[in-house]
Symmetry: C2
Subunit: 421 residues, 2 copies
């Protein structure tokens, strides 16, 4: 008898009808003899509706109250799924993140899980119940206030519970049939992957792949929880994310896939004195604004001027803040100007086999050049090559690279409705 943790996203429970379908799938799992813990996101558009209500009563709602408000969504969906399970003749009990022992930092809206002590979940399982746990939330260790976990929080809740309960697997149900060599909506012949190592999935998530959020994969890898990504609309096998790359024989030189990311913008600080300490001032200024920097490029300085340019990428949503911060420090630090470009795209090739195959980078650049796609910035790691392009050329870049490395399959991938969470 296994312990299975399942997670269903918002579109899977968007209506009463879909809730009943999900309940059937859950009860089926239980009847096969497994213990089941289920994490459910809020129904469909609930979170957006609550955000809208909040905006109507207050232009700048305090984060603590926003968490009190938004966590109602998961409470509702989990109670409804428990009711639907009960109507199918099985026992079910729902718990909030707090009741399930999900303890977090105090950062409202973006809390991190510190610990999971699922005593009440364990007791309910031992009594024969299916257990529902509200995703995306927990309780602050310090203030005992309710917190939410930021984007992808329900996936992280599921993996964290799976780790704390020593579950055999964590099944993430979404609206795609698993993980593919590229986004099937851009590359019709993207191939379905049966298995992906943790580090590869980490890279794919970091490079923009949206199926699993980075934090969720980090947690899974740290606690060695196999994550099974499946569709809630079909019975296709999905993708298992588990194990490390050392398990992959080197001669196979596996290239996993092509990821893309539209969420970043580019900032260039022009005319910075090319002396020790100046780059540090730029990065410190941005860090003080609590902005994460992704790619960095320092241009070769112009000997005659003794100045250099620094370029970096960051989330688009943080762009204006960073520009404002740096502009305010222009005189103090002493650079010419700040340039901002939010029409960029990032495309990445990921694969365990890259480090032992030097031709990969060359093939990468040649393929893009032949397609007339300009490369703005290059960044590499042992298992990844990323470049910046114009956002209008991003989809083409994905297709070109996918074809250049022979990643396509025979089957045309099918994408189901909704974006899930």
């Amino acid at each position: 008898m296994a312990l299975v943790v399942q997670k269903y996203g918002g579109s899977s429970v968007a209506t009463a009808e879909r809730i009943r379908r999900v309940a059937e799938r859950i009860v089926e799992t239980k009847r096969r003899g497994d213990d089941v813990v289920v994490v459910v996101s809020a129904m469909g558009d609930t979170t957006d509706e609550l955000l809208d209500l909040a905006q109507q009563v207050s232009p700048a709602p305090p984060a603590r109250e926003m968490d009190m408000l938004l966590t109602s969504g998961e409470r509702i969906s989990n109670a409804l799924v428990a009711m639907a399970i009960h109507s199918l003749g099985a026992e079910a009990r729902s718990f909030t993140g707090s009741q399930a022992g999900v303890v977090t930092t105090g950062v409202h809206g973006n809390a991190k899980i510190i610990d999971v002590t699922p005593g009440r979940v364990r007791d309910a399982l031992d009594e024969g119940s299916i257990v529902l746990v509200a995703g995306f939330q927990g309780v602050s260790q310090d203030s005992k206030d309710v917190t939410t976990l930021g984007r992808g929080g329900s996936d992280t809740t599921a993996v964290a519970l799976a780790a704390a309960l020593n579950a055999d697997v964590c099944e993430i149900y979404t609206d795609v049939d698993g993980i593919f060599t590229a986004d099937p909506r851009i590359v019709p012949d993207a191939r379905h992957l049966e298995k992906v190592a943790f580090e590869e999935m980490l890279e794919m998530a970091a490079c923009g792949a949206k199926v699993l959020m980075l934090r969720c994969v980090e947690y899974a890898r740290r606690y060695d929880v196999p994550v099974h990504v499946r569709s809630s609309y079909t019975t296709k096998p999905g993708t298992i994310v588990s194990g490390s790359m050392e398990d992959i024989p080197v001669e196979e030189a596996i290239l996993t896939g092509v990821a893309h990311d539209r969420s970043e913008a580019k900032v260039t600080v022009v005319g910075l004195p090319d002396e020790p300490g100046y780059a540090a001032k730029i990065f410190r200024a941005v860090a003080d604004a609590e902005i994460n920097i992704d790619m960095v490029l320092q241009n070769i300085s112009k000997v005659e001027t003794g100045k250099t340019d620094i370029t970096f990428t960051l989330p688009k949503t943080d762009g204006p803040t960073a520009v404002t911060k740096l502009t305010a420090m222009q005189e103090e630090i002493g650079f010419s100007k700040v340039l901002y470009d939010d029409h960029i795209g990032k495309v990445s090739l990921i694969g365990a086999g890259m480090k032992s195959h030097p031709g990969v980078t060359a093939t990468f650049c040649e393929a893009l050049a032949e397609a007339g796609i300009n490369i703005d910035l290059i960044s590499t790691s042992e298992i990844r090559i990323s470049v910046l392009t114009k956002d209008s050329e991003l989809d083409d870049a994905v297709r070109v690279l996918h074809a250049a490395f022979g990643l396509g399959g025979d089957e045309i991938a099918v994408v189901h409705g909704g974006t899930g969470r």
Copy 2:
């Protein structure tokens, strides 16, 4: 500096606009120098919408899960009010019933408050915050599960908090201008009452007056919390419920008002043996079905048959259950038949002065007789006379009695929209 507890019903917070109005009123109270704790019901139709969703996923939802579901409503409204208060420049924090220390029995859907330990509320008040507490809910002392308190639960929450915090007053904001000598929707010249003693309010609530629920008034009387019933739409003075009837000078012979109740039905057990023990069997059978009996009448037995009839009233919703239960025991107990009438109404005259004024009962019956209204059953207490009539004659009975005892005033009462909770 006083501590004021305020309660706002669902219609007072039905929209973002109304939420902002309520927030303004709350901040005004705080700015006058008082500490404020606010209990808010769920927005408008939220509870009904959630009940509907539950019905769609399950025909017979488990009570525990129903409480998990319904309590989301109050969580949402309290967080939104806190946000609105914050946007007006004041500090506010919302808590669930559980977080506020409302400890209850384990009866889901109809829990009773056992204790209130409002430590976190007190701390937040001491830090200068306005505190919001979700009404209608608490946490079970035994199972630690979330519970709801049954109808009028938000009023009871407010009074219980006021008692635990030693508040100076508990203000209940509703959609009527206070308590009147009769329901203003039936009696246009019903007079507004400035003050009502606890016992009188208890009788009025028990006799059908819906402004304050019985449990709430019982709690207020037990802990001597003055309850101020006011309109959330006007600034009229409202009605203070406090003190005991001994405070009222006897010679004033105050008659408080006329209450009416449409929620009951009448059951008659015909041909019961007129011997010791048989009536007890009837009442035990009904009690075993957890049904509360209100009025009871045992008819004079017919000497020639040695049989008698017993008539009692009960909530209409329990009628079919009681009839089924008794019919099943017909042979065992040995009576002829069970009659059921759910077209009855109950009208009651309430007042402290009744006991020392014997003519009251006579005037009561004469007034109804003159109007051609038949009296079915009479029941009296020290401060109340209640009779059953046909439900179609109930409104007339209310008006007739109200006029017969000169309770009317000069002003036509105004009733505002919505039914509140």
